[in-house]
Symmetry: C2
Subunit: 183 residues, 2 copies
Amino acid sequence: MAQKNILKYIILGLLNREDLAGYDIKKLFEEELGDFWYSNHSQIYPELRRMEDDGLISSRTELVGKKLEKKFYQITKDGQKLLSAWMDESLNPLVPTRDEFTMKLYLLDSADHPLVTRLFQEEIARHEEKYQYLQTRWQLLFADESEQQKHFGHRCILEQAILREKQRLDWLHRELKKIKKTN
Amino acid sequence: MAQKNILKYIILGLLNREDLAGYDIKKLFEEELGDFWYSNHSQIYPELRRMEDDGLISSRTELVGKKLEKKFYQITKDGQKLLSAWMDESLNPLVPTRDEFTMKLYLLDSADHPLVTRLFQEEIARHEEKYQYLQTRWQLLFADESEQQKHFGHRCILEQAILREKQRLDWLHRELKKIKKTN
DNA sequence: TTTGGCATGTAAGCCGTTACATGATTTA
DNA sequence: TAAATCATGTAACGGCTTACATGCCAAA
């Protein structure tokens, strides 16, 4: 059984707000949700088909231009029932994070190891980049105060992601300083 | 290809410090590393076998009691080479977190929804429990100052995990307060 | 003597990634 | 008109979880 198929419920949740095509869902993951959930299109399309077979969603086709077909899905009554059951359910157990940086640090097993500094610098650089990107995005989307109240969910995710990066960076810088002192 | 087989390198890193049996590795994941890496024993044992077939590790058997056999693995020269190559390599791209709580919150799409408060309370409760557990563990292991200098890696992981839980809890409490005000 | 922990495996199957594949539309 | 983006799929495979399975040892 492996993990619960949570993607299914997330798709239901998205379709519960508006009709979407597979491509739209993919875009949402890339541009809005990706920091807390992500699926590739190669997982999305087959899932949509299965969900339609199961009667959780239905589809209609619209033309883009003259030939290109876009398949919009809408949630059904059954889908809504299943969605609200999931919403009512208690959360699944926390899955353990898998953090390659921390494991490397753990395995070096000493603050003196010559690789430690480089490891920190690499981790700092990648989080710095991400942090900058997220900040730019926030400016773009929510700097205008009239937008503050709208997009509750989107803002919630983006701000959480920004905070997470900031806290990570702070910790990394603190630890690196400590390490440099002892050497 | 999916993900890189990082478990392999972690096992190598562990065996590079001391000989271990599969069960010992399992125990390490459960008691020491679990917050930043975890694998089930059903993944560990076959992996060890493959690694031995590939000449990265070798094994010897010791008796526990009169009949029970325990298979200790040690790292080979080839294993050490591969380990140090991995250590020198740059980190793999960050994998996106999958966070069911945040997705549910996102999908409720409003601070007013009756489920929001319950959702927060549930998330707070589970992180509170974890936080308490981790704190107890720190006390147990590192309260004695003579232990402070030892176990660099273990302490690093435990303290990181504690900080993460604390920051998460702080955020949850802050947001919950905000939400209650607007209602 | 029973219970819990030690110790090592195998099998089925889902989740997710990577790669393969194709074609239309829009934009620079 | 070329490049980027829109749009939808399939195939192969590895990682990981869950469940099945067995037996020994130590401690209460």
